[in-house]
């Protein structure tokens, strides 16, 4: 990296120094005195502001033994900004729930500053800590230093991506399972798949402790894991009465009872009556009356599949795959990881290149997918049964097909080269 001093010339960026929101421009300008390459970065960014054009090209660099985690960039204008010729980002797996000690944060700052431009981001959209501005050697030394200090680099490419979760049981009364522990368990169990991209495309987990989904799992992850409970929610009638005394009956009616999506709440005197058989665990009443109401005691999670943003088939929300699963013991967690491997095997054996699992399900159909991953259909998986009548009822096909090879065998028992059956 060139240590060449370059005068800052950022009239447009300077306009981002006014106003009450903290300015990264002010911060980086001051820091450029310590790290001259940051001046080059700001000057190039200024040029982008002037021309409305981007000057970064993607590159490839990997730490030995790793297939991702370093997001390599080089500037188109490296003649002008030599320090940006190689200016990579290193993704670092964040502590689950984004909790830090100051020692840990200082360690990251020191490693970022020692090996590169000393710019950090908390956090990237993938959940990772991002350390910016390393040349090739600096990237590798950064990775080395990170690993020596107990960190690990994050995922990129067609791999299991870095996981993220809400704060969960560490600081929330609503968390229905231990999101941090589960995040660490999945990360550590499947770390091979995170570091060495070998899937047809990326695969993301996000973990939320309750259906408020603070980790935004349902549309941002291929396998959302959302905490929930079975049976009755917990109601403290004394605190219900206190809530009514404090807020008034009208508030209860307008903001709790009538907002229940399945109308399973009613009130008798100052007692809340809950028809738990109709409760869909939306969390609204608990959010409003969180002293009086709590999730039930038999807790676990709902597993969904296929959430992602719009490319290529349009947005897909995660869809219910396992309505309820316990995630309390090591055995529970291991059962789940076994299931995940089965899902991955079916997807990777049959998915097309660059096909996310949601797109794969869109192409082959959920009923085929369920058979492939050996999950029994459940009415909680759908909003309504099908309306189209064109159906291949396998059980009702004419007997003359008995013993014959099906013309169009379903994908799960199609023969593939080199193997008898899947």
């Amino acid at each position: 990296m060139s240590a060449k001093e370059m005068a800052l010339n950022t009239p447009m960026l300077n306009e981002l120094e006014s106003g009450d929101w903290p300015s990264f421009v002010t911060d980086l300008k001051a820091y450029s005195k310590k790290r001259p390459v940051v001046a080059q970065l700001l000057n190039q960014l200024e040029e982008s502001y002037q021309t409305k054009w981007n000057y970064w090209q993607g590159k490839i660099i990997n730490a030995p033994g790793y297939g991702g985690g370093i997001i390599a960039r080089g500037s188109d204008k490296s003649d002008k900004y030599p320090g940006l010729a190689n200016f990579h980002t290193v993704r670092v797996i964040e502590p689950p729930g984004w909790v830090y000690s100051t020692d840990a944060l200082r360690d990251l700052a020191d490693i970022a500053e020692k090996n590169g431009a000393g710019i950090l981001q908390f956090h990237g959209m993938s959940g990772d800590v991002l350390l910016l501005g390393f040349d090739d050697a600096g990237s590798l030394q950064c990775a080395e230093d990170l690993m020596n200090n107990g960190w690990d680099i994050g995922g990129s490419g067609a791999a299991m991506r870095t996981l993220q979760c809400c704060v969960g049981q560490a600081r929330c009364e609503m968390a229905c399972y231990d999101t941090m522990k589960m995040t660490k368990h999945l990360t550590d169990t499947f770390i091979h798949y995170l570091h060495r991209p070998e899937f047809v495309y990326k695969f993301k987990f996000k973990l939320s402790g309750c259906p408020n989904d603070c980790a935004n799992s349902i549309v941002r992850s291929d396998m959302p894991i959302i905490g929930t409970w079975r049976g009755a929610m917990q109601v403290d009638q004394k605190k219900v009465a206190e809530f009514i005394d404090q807020k008034g009956m009208e508030y209860l009616i307008d903001n709790v009872l009538t907002r229940c999506p399945t109308r399973c709440l009613s009130v008798r005197g100052k007692e809340l009556v809950v028809d738990n058989s109709d409760c869909v665990r939306c969390m609204h009443c608990i959010n409003v009356m969180h002293k009086a109401l709590k999730p039930g005691k038999d807790r676990g999670a709902t597993i969904l599949v296929g959430g992602k943003r719009t490319l290529k088939i349009g947005d897909t929300m995660g869809a219910v795959l396992i309505p309820f699963i316990k995630l309390e013991t090591d055995e529970d967690r291991d059962n789940f990881t076994d299931f995940v491997e089965k899902v991955w095997e079916f997807w990777n054996d049959n998915g097309m290149d660059h096909e996310r699992i949601g797109e794969f399900i869109y192409r082959i159909g959920m009923l085929t997918f369920l058979k492939g991953v050996e999950i029994e259909p459940d009415p909680r998986m759908i909003n309504r049964p099908r309306t189209t009548s064109y159906i291949k009822f396998e059980e009702l096909g004419p007997s003359r097909f008995d013993g014959e090879r099906q013309q169009n065998p379903p994908v799960w028992n199609r023969e593939s080269e080199g193997r008898e059956t899947m």
Binding site: S18, A30, Q57, L120, M125, G150, D152, V219, L311, I313
Partner: protein, 357 residues
Amino acid sequence: MSQTTLAPRDQGAPDYTKYLHPLMAKNYGKWDYHERLRPGVLVHVGESGDKLYTVRAGSPRTMSADTVRKVCAIADKYCEGFLRFTSRSNIEFLVGKKENLDPLIQAVEKELGWPLGGTGPSVSNISHTQGWLHCNLPGSDAAGSVKALMDDLIEDFKNEQLPNRVHISSSCCQINCASHGDISIIVQHHHAPRINHKNMQICELPKVVAICPAAAIRPATINGMETVEVVEEKCMYCGACHGQCPSMEIRDAQTDTLSIWVGGKMSNARSAPTFMKLAVWGIPNNPPRWPEVSAAVKTILKAYKEGGKPWERLGEWIERIGWQRFFEKTGFPFTRYHIDDSPEALSTLNRSAMLRL
């Protein structure tokens, strides 16, 4: 350079138990309830009676090592050395001793200059992407446009005066890394990619053909070179090919614009999660402060603030009053482009005689 022993060590996620505030560790899984003491300040009360205070502030997400150290010095002084970040890049200082609360707030506001807020029914920090600062695909900036927009929305960050929380996201291309939000800003391209046929050898052509969601790309030989061509009528300017192949340039500084989408919601509270929908398009990509974006977002927030009922998220408010009235109240024109023509389009039509006339 020190010696490199780098090899796959596969160390996995950091041991978070080392990073838990002592009161988090003690009350792990045993929290009873929480309260918002004022915008930006929460208290979580354990079954044990322990109280853990949280001071939430807006961070710029991108920070220098020196700024990180400044944050650490404050957390060492008042937070027993522990803090966390939220999924929207807010910082949360964790305070075990109530007497540290006021001096901490002073330090965060005065020394760091970071505003308190983002709790309850407020505008939270904006989820955003990398933009011109460090991405290879962007049509706009992210950190800068977010800074400019949050300057303009700061009163709604610092105060809890909206019907419910508002999550905003800002993305610099159609991949939309910042994802859905109550309000979301996305770059929009307006013509097919320009192909640099001389530089197609850097791309895997079958992958370029396969990635097109509109099946608009097909192999071609031009001047004896193996390349691709784009069927312009089919191309919908998404830029998927550009992500796959840098020689297929989708961006255009002269014609790219921004659009604003509303009504995305991830939470299951009250109603099922929803995708965001197009509100207004054709907004100029106007650095350094994108005033037209701020004006449109403020228009949406004003109408929502006036019309939304308590606890109603922005999309829920619109669903209740109807999209017709949303366009009336914001003054945004309803155009033919608001009518979906994607594969999901038929489910977006009003197939009933239920109308507001």
